[in-house]
């Protein structure tokens, strides 16, 4: 076999780097950051998040604070989803589009009250996102500040919240415990959000860099197992969450990425960037769609494998893996609009039977996909 030893280059370290080394994390380069892929077994880490609680260092993600009296009008122009739907403390998932509807990035934005918003965008798109956001912000009274001195720890799983509560002080615990899903609150130096990327309950906690290792260790001692980016990827795939750069990019719109639900069409007069292009394509029968695939026999689905339907090639897999929870090959595939039900995936010259389904595959510890 051919092994590809991971290149050792000059990568950035998160405030938790020493913790990863101490825990035996296998570090790999991810978007210029030295990040743990796993700490021994990706599958064990995955299963722990589904059954108990795991924590991920996601400090490589880009965190932007936006502030100013025109922040809301700016974000209502910048984003395909509408921050006008938010109440203070609530989070919103959105795509950020080009004029032609292509997806620049997907992100989460939290309204912190008044003209203050916090946005989390991908690490791999850091430079182009900042260039785009700053350019679009020019006509608005808004400041865009990158937070570089924090760690972001995602604690996920059915017991994640209990275990986090166990390490917080009384005030923070009360505040966190009161959070509804997809809401966030400031708890002293911490910013705690009941959000995540695994399909399980839990928190994402923004913590100052100099307190990050203490929090990480407290969580570890409280029974939260570290999990790497490998498990994060299989968890998000099972949870039916698209990955930027893999399942979508600037060449496709949200309509072709199973993200039509994140486009806020109403009110009709809101002129977000990309709106005209999306409206022109809305309902176009030539639009492809992003579906889930479940392999019927044994095997592992992988990105770029061609998908056949009724004897012709009808698309390809955008991201695939082995689902540790379902013990089957699962994937997202971008296919022609008419594809449904039984199809075939070509793998090493053979065509294997798969089924097109509606993601998610797994939510809250249960299989949930529908054919």
């Amino acid at each position: 076999m051919t092994l590809d030893p991971d290149s050792k280059n000059m990568a950035r370290h998160t405030p938790l780097h020493e913790e990863h080394l101490r825990l035996g994390g296998k570090l790999v380069d991810f978007a210029g950051w030295d990040m743990p892929l796993h700490y021994g077994s990706q599958i064990d880490e995955h299963n722990r998040v589904r059954a108990d609680a795991g924590m991920f260092d996601v400090s490589h993600m880009t965190i932007l604070d936006l502030q100013g009296e025109e922040t809301a009008p700016f974000l209502r122009r910048l984003l395909a989803n509408d921050v006008g739907r938010l109440v203070p403390g609530k989070a919103l998932y959105s795509c950020m589009l080009r004029e032609d509807g292509g997806i620049i990035d997907d992100l989460i934005v939290y309204w912190r009250g008044d003209g203050r918003y916090r946005m989390v965008v991908n690490a791999a798109t850091h430079d182009k996102d900042l260039d785009w956001i700053r350019a679009q912000a020019q006509p608005f009274a808004v400041s865009v500040t990158e937070r570089c001195d924090d760690a972001l720890i995602a604690v996920q799983g059915p017991r994640a919240r209990d275990k986090v509560h166990g390490v917080l002080d009384e005030d923070a615990r009360r505040t966190a415990a009161a959070l509804a899903p997809f809401h966030a609150a400031e708890c002293g130096p911490l910013f705690i959000a009941r959000t995540g990327y695994t399909g399980e309950d839990g928190y994402e906690i923004l913590v100052p860099a100099d307190e990050a290792a203490d929090l990480w260790r407290a969580l570890y001692n409280g029974g939260v197992h570290p999990a790497g980016l490998g498990a994060r990827d299989t968890l998000r795939l099972e949870a039916g969450m698209a990955l930027y750069g893999t399942d979508m990019d600037e060449t496709v719109t949200p309509l072709e990425s199973a993200l039509g639900w994140t486009v806020a069409w109403e009110p009709a007069e809101r002129d977000f960037i990309g709106r005209a292009a999306l409206e022109a394509r809305r309902g176009d029968p030539a639009l492809k769609k992003l579906v889930g695939l479940v392999l019927e026999g044994r095997g592992v689905l992988r990105g770029q494998q061609p998908v056949y339907w009724n004897g012709r090639q009808a698309g390809e897999i955008t991201s695939g893996s082995f689902s540790p929870f379902l013990k089957k090959g699962i994937a997202f595939a971008r296919v022609d609009a008419e594809v449904e039900g039984r199809c075939e995936v070509e793998m090493r010259g053979k065509r294997l039977t798969a089924r097109a389904v509606r993601p998610p595959f797994v939510r809250h510890g249960k299989a949930c996909y529908k054919a």
């Binding site: 076999m1 051919t2 030893p5 892929l37 077994s41 990706q42 592992v300 090959g329």
Partner: protein, 130 residues
């Protein structure tokens, strides 16, 4: 530090070979290889009776991370495959030189064994790769 048993022979492409004393050999992948590939989730083995050639693809092992070809370290005929890997591919992670063996090959050219490395040479090779 990975485990490299001294009684086996090794290929440059990280397969191991164990002579069975009857003109056949067992073949698997090394501890070093399974460690780099990570959790195994699927193994595709050849049919019984398949002809395999030294240095050519003879099986595929898939970890959560990626699919990797296994190259046959010898030329011959596949006379037995490890059927238990179908349900429990993780045996390759847990016991790469024992329960995680992949296939048994009847040698057609036993002289090929001499081209393979011993444990010391294989250990030196992976050391140099790191």
């Amino acid at each position: 530090m990975s485990n490299i048993p001294s009684g086996l022979k090794y290929s440059k492409s990280h397969e191991w070979v164990e002579e069975q004393g009857d003109g056949s050999v067992k073949v698997g992948i090394t501890d070093h290889a399974q460690g780099l590939l990570g959790d195994m989730v699927f193994v595709e083995v050849p049919e019984d009776g398949a002809a395999v050639n030294q240095g050519e693809e003879c099986a595929v092992v898939e970890s959560v991370k990626a699919a990797s070809d296994v190259y046959s370290p010898v030329t011959g005929e596949v006379v037995e495959v490890n059927e238990t890997l179908g349900d429990t591919p993780e045996l390759i992670n847990q016991d790469p030189y024992g329960e995680g063996w992949i296939m048994r090959i009847q040698l057609s050219n036993p002289a090929e064994l001499e081209e393979l490395m011993d444990a010391d040479d294989y250990g030196a090779m992976i050391e140099a790769e790191d």
